[in-house]
Symmetry: C3
């Protein structure tokens, strides 16, 4: 593997770097950092940003992480293998995520979150403190998970997204809302109430419009659009895609 630590990068001797790790120009790697084998950190990043809020815990990036330029990760969070980010993401302290987490450009993950496996966000997503996100969840550009019912306060209630939920562009989820498995929250919705599994959710304030199974593909009205797993498979591991093809949607990770 063509590993490179660019000579302009500033890498703490206390950082733990696996084999084949690359660090790009002008990046900063602080001391309380553990980076897995084969990870690539682009230029202009700051990894392991120190904070007393991390309670002395390190930042852990699993094997094969791919961090794009100008990103900032705080000390004290932990990510499974296969993390991929866009540019200029911010991830604060004491968040944990499973494998193959994909974070879009300029996403802002505010810390103290629990995130499952194979979660994908697109650009400019904001995930407030104490959010709890299941497996195979999608967040599209500008989606926002809030947490403070009476701002400003310290009584934060995180949003809960169950497995396979899809949150559309610029949708806002109000504090403490739970969105049931496989639901689809439409673009620009403002969601203030819990939604049962399989809900198609839309509006401001948002309501359950119908079951997601009613939604059809734009180019083929006979084809169901949801559940999306199995219909859309790009980038998921073979064993996941094969399980979906057999109607199996729960996994032991």
């Amino acid at each position: 593997m063509n590993a490179t630590l660019h000579p302009t990068a500033i890498i703490s001797p206390k950082a733990t770097l696996g084999t084949g790790v690359s660090v790009g120009p002008f990046s900063i790697i602080h001391g309380d950092v553990e980076i897995g084998d084969g990870a690539t950190i682009d230029g202009h990043c700051e990894i392991g940003y120190p904070t007393p809020l991390a309670e002395g815990r390190p930042l852990v990036l699993g094997r094969g992480a791919r961090i794009r330029s100008h990103s900032v990760f705080y000390q004290g969070s932990s990510f499974g293998e296969g993390l991929v980010t866009g540019h200029r993401v911010t991830v604060r302290e004491l968040t944990t995520a499973g494998r193959s987490f994909q974070i879009g450009t300029m996403a802002d993950i505010q810390g103290y979150c629990e995130i499952g496996h194979h979660v994908r966000t697109q650009s400019s997503v904001t995930i407030g403190q104490k959010s709890r996100i299941g497996n195979f969840v999608w967040l599209f550009p500008g989606a926002l998970l809030t947490n403070d019912p009476t701002p400003p306060s310290d009584e934060l209630l995180g949003v809960i997204l169950e497995d396979y939920v899809v949150v559309g562009v610029k949708a806002t989820l109000l504090p403490g809302v739970r969105i049931g498995r496989g639901s689809f929250v439409a673009a620009h919705s403002l969601v203030g109430t819990d939604m049962v599994a399989g809900s198609m959710v839309s509006g401001s304030p948002a309501k359950r419009v119908c079951d997601v199974s009613v939604v059809r593909m734009k180019n083929d009205v006979r084809a169901k659009a949801y559940p999306w797993a199995g219909r859309f498979t790009r980038g998921y591991p073979d064993e996941v895609v094969q399980a979906w093809a057999q109607g199996k949607f729960d996994f032991e990770f």
Copy 2:
């Protein structure tokens, strides 16, 4: 004080730095800049970005400023002591702010604004040109203050936020709107008309729903949520907190 000017930082000899100022790796400090004692500038920042629109005025950062990474401040603006920013904030020319201004990650402050004391924004806030913001105002993620009633034009009308106003997530305030003291603009609202003091504002288009004093805490329906000052005190100076406890909400700064 453990002040450091990192050897990779590029600091103009014309810049004025107080005692104990720290500048992080790969940051750029231009010449027309005055930084107060004890300020900390993280890495990857550009401070005092030159512009002819600044009319030759310097950038002034008061004592104890804390500028996080990848931020850009233009020449010609001025901030009181205790400025704190998140990452990647942008502040343009000819804006003035009082003491203890807190600017969230990726906030965009577009210049020609007047901002009071103890104002706090969270992430991805946009403050348009000519906004006028009082003391103790809060802006939550994605809040937007506009200014152009007939875009594109040069006839900009700034938004006015009076003291203690709270603007919720993704709320949009239309040009020239004045929000009265202590009002709370709910998440995702679109506000096109002035609001009297103490209004609970919600909807698209937004209306005055009730007096803010009607709103209760989520976890205790007997406890009023607003006015928030005194109920929430984290990070404010002792003299402010004590005054609030005595029912005093106006200050001479």
Copy 3:
């Protein structure tokens, strides 16, 4: 011309730089890049970010480009002369734009787009893949062009904005929508249907409210606000402004 290649900049010997090109501190210029005469690249940028999706095509920045700090341009896109950007813009692969494209701070242009001449975006705009934008179009802060009718999918339908369209702050355009020439989409709208030329569009879901010619200036109710071309002329070339004054709004570029 006072050209400078800052000694800390990392410039590939394979990059093609015109005369008088400036590159600021800590910027990275990759190999598959062609930069026109007189261009200025600020500090902390990454220009020509490599990607196999670019199909081997270079990044082309026309004469006189002005790229502000912390911006990222991918390999494989092409821009006419006079490109101007704010800070931290992201432009992905295989997008083409005409002359005098202005991109606001933190705008996110996701690739595979066709963009005309004299298009201007303000900050935090998101332009989804496959968008097609005409000449003299405006996008105001937070405007979003989507593309996926049944997310997640690979069946992307880009938004079409015809010449002289104005998209207001935080407006969301749903996949495949076509907005007719000279229409004005009001702030915070959610547009799911095509709009004929000259529409004033507002609401969520958005409707055609009236013809744009009905809209008046805020400070003079006798003055029509739209069409805006000719009323607002700042920064356009003399020949364009003169043509507008003579009632000519179509150009051969």
